[in-house]
């Protein structure tokens, strides 16, 4: 049995390599907000209140492009609706927690944290304090995101744009799924999702981000039926 502290540290260590892409992205995110002419305090408030990289950028871009608040808020909701899927996966491991702890831990569930903690949970089901791993990944992400976006807001885009560091985001997710390329069923699901996301990219409110996983999960359920 690992202690709470050991699990928390393991979570921190498991997510820390992703900071290589998260920190530059956070800096860009903060800098864009100020460049687009928004109040720096409000730009930072997003990191604290919304706490979601892609959705913060979309929110800024939509509002600066003249979209209504309603459209911007709806888009953020739809982009983040993928968390419903993460929550459904994680609920199995977090079941023993009190309702209040579930409410608290939910705030720090992010893509990379979900991915790394889920990998850990699958291998260590019997650990008593599993959720400390998720707190470790989530808090690491939270602290880095706050610092990165704040530095972008204060210092401006000191990351040269020519470096194209936004490209580090797809790379970080490649690192997450690449080992599943060994399994043909997973490859089919990934390709389905990827192609759907390109096909539906222009769907309203950025809904490709939830339409394509739903299609891919439908394909996954068909594959499971074939397997039997």
């Amino acid at each position: 049995m690992l202690s709470k502290k050991q699990l928390f540290t393991k979570g921190m260590l498991d997510i820390s390599p992703h900071m290589l892409s998260v920190i530059p992205f956070g800096i860009i995110c903060g800098a864009i907000g100020v460049e687009l002419g928004f109040n720096p305090y409000l730009v930072y408030a997003m990191s604290f209140i919304i706490f979601g990289g892609a959705s913060q950028i979309v929110f800024l871009q939509l509002l600066s492009g003249g979209a209504s608040s309603l459209v911007a808020v709806t888009s953020v909701g739809i982009i983040n609706s993928r968390h419903l899927l993460y929550g459904a996966v994680l609920s199995e491991y977090l079941e023993k927690l009190s309702f209040f702890k579930k409410l608290l831990i939910s705030y720090v569930i992010v893509d990379q944290g979900f991915a790394e903690s889920n990998k850990f949970f699958k291998k260590n089901r019997s650990e008593e304090y599993l959720h400390y791993h998720l707190i470790g990944t989530g808090c690491t992400m939270w602290v880095c995101w706050q610092i990165a976006t704040l530095s972008g807001i204060i210092l401006g885009s000191f990351v040269p744009e020519e470096l194209g560091l936004k490209f580090a985001i797809p790379l970080t997710f490649i690192a997450i799924v690449v080992q599943d390329l060994k399994k043909i069923d997973h490859v089919i699901v990934m390709i389905t999702c990827g192609l759907s996301s390109l096909l539906f990219f222009d769907a309203p409110f950025k809904s490709y981000i939830i339409i394509s996983p739903v299609i891919a999960l439908f394909v996954a359920s068909l594959l499971l039926r074939l397997k039997k």
């Binding site: 992703h18 290589l20 892409s21 928004f38 109040n39 409000l42 408030a45 997003m46 919304i50 706490f51 979601g52 509002l63 953020v76 983040n80 968390h83 899927l85 993460y86 929550g87 459904a88 609920s91 977090l94 079941e95 309702f99 579930k102 409410l103 939910s106 705030y107 569930i109 893509d111 889920n118 194209g164 936004k166 490209f167 580090a168 985001i169 797809p170 790379l171 970080t172 997710f173 490649i174 690192a175 997450i176 799924v177 690449v178 080992q179 997973h186 699901v189 990934m190 390709i191 990827g194 996301s197 390109l198 990219f201 490709y208 996983p213 891919a216 999960l217 996954a220 359920s221 499971l224």
Partner: protein, 105 residues
């Protein structure tokens, strides 16, 4: 951008994170649903990866000789064999930079 709109967006985002964690219990999900949920990472992350590579900042498709495609392929190969996140990200970035700064410059 008003603080109110940020708060609404934040509440909505929080609900997407909290709903399933707080309201779903093990008995509510059958074995079939759980088997499908095993695929969630593979079914969600390509929706972040593919547009990040194939669609540019202006929302249009990139050319087939775009350096990002090469960078992504290198990242996939290095990631597959190294099983190392930092190596994967760096391999993708460095090969991408090599193309844009050395070859195409």
């Amino acid at each position: 951008m008003s603080l109110m709109s940020i708060i609404f967006a934040g509440i909505l985002t929080y609900f997407t994170r909290m709903t399933m964690v707080a309201l779903i219990s093990r008995e509510m999900l059958g074995d079939k649903v759980k088997a499908v949920l095993e695929y969630v990472p593979s079914a969600v992350f390509p929706a972040i990866i593919f547009p990040g590579i194939f669609i540019n900042d202006y929302g249009t498709f990139i050319e087939m000789n775009d350096p990002k495609i090469f960078g992504a392929l290198v990242a996939v190969i290095v990631g597959y064999f190294s099983k190392n996140i930092i190596a994967t990200i760096l391999a993708g970035l460095v090969s991408y930079w090599f193309l844009i700064f050395v070859i195409f410059s």
